[in-house]
Symmetry: D2
């Protein structure tokens, strides 16, 4: 569904996020300053969002674009509803 | 700074998030449906937020409470500004 | 662009929001408790979001759907980029 | 609770937001382009957030600071919980 270049980008970002999470756990274990830990969790939230933007844009360019060309109005409506639902979740937790 | 019980809770949540991130990477590699991947990234965003709430509440109960009892108005102001800055970042990326 | 029913819904919600804003201004002027004022501003943020969801869903069902059926890849890409940009703004300020 | 200068700032911002809401209603009635309407609602969301930051910072500097100096641990805990609850609402709708 995603081309190899975008997939590679998403995978390498997820690898970096995994490393960041391990770093945050270490900070908690070592009693580091709360505000410094929160700066790191915010950095993960921002990185996660970049991955989501990549996936969402890809979805619109492929699946959603395909559904829009379909002659089935039910399929169109369902695909738009899916995007609206994810959008609602994105606004809920950043 | 955090008591052992809260620290243990934060660490075990971070471990679970690390596993979720690995699961998401696998989903990307296996070309899973975009909307299913986004449901998982949203679940991570929500779990990350629970960790942040734990840390923020602890910060208010310890550091911020301590600064508020200080007689130095500059220290009070600085600690409040720190919380406002993190709050701004939290609203920016969920 | 919007059908009359949706337009009426959006207009009546905006009227209610306008009244809520006036109520919040009064609360500020009357020195009401900060947390009570913030509960009201949060209610406006939630109502504003409902209006945005209405407009966004309409946009996807009309403009975006139309662009997706176009044979011009540049137009498709531009319309998707517009939605991604608004999505970015939505995540920035709820 | 707020000093006159901050109160004046909050009131004048709320007046501007009220005008913006009326402008958005007109845009809906005049069938303006969805993306242009959403740019305006985003501007309101950002302005609303600035008002909230003003109120929140004031709250921390007055009420919360006062509670922190109290010798009653129940009162401290209650005031922190209030801030955490509003924070949760802020992250939910920007």
């Amino acid at each position: 569904m995603m081309d190899e270049q975008k997939k590679g980008k998403a995978v390498s970002r997820l690898n970096r996020i995994e490393g960041q999470i391990r770093g945050i756990r270490r900070m908690v274990e070592e009693d580091r300053y709360c505000m410094d830990i929160l700066a790191q969790t915010r950095s993960v939230a921002s990185a996660l969002r970049a991955v989501e933007d990549l996936i969402m844009e890809n979805h619109m360019n492929t699946c959603l674009a395909h559904a829009m060309q379909s002659s089935d109005p039910g399929e169109k409506q369902q695909k738009i509803q899916e995007v609206m639902d994810v959008l609602g979740q994105m606004r809920k937790y950043g």
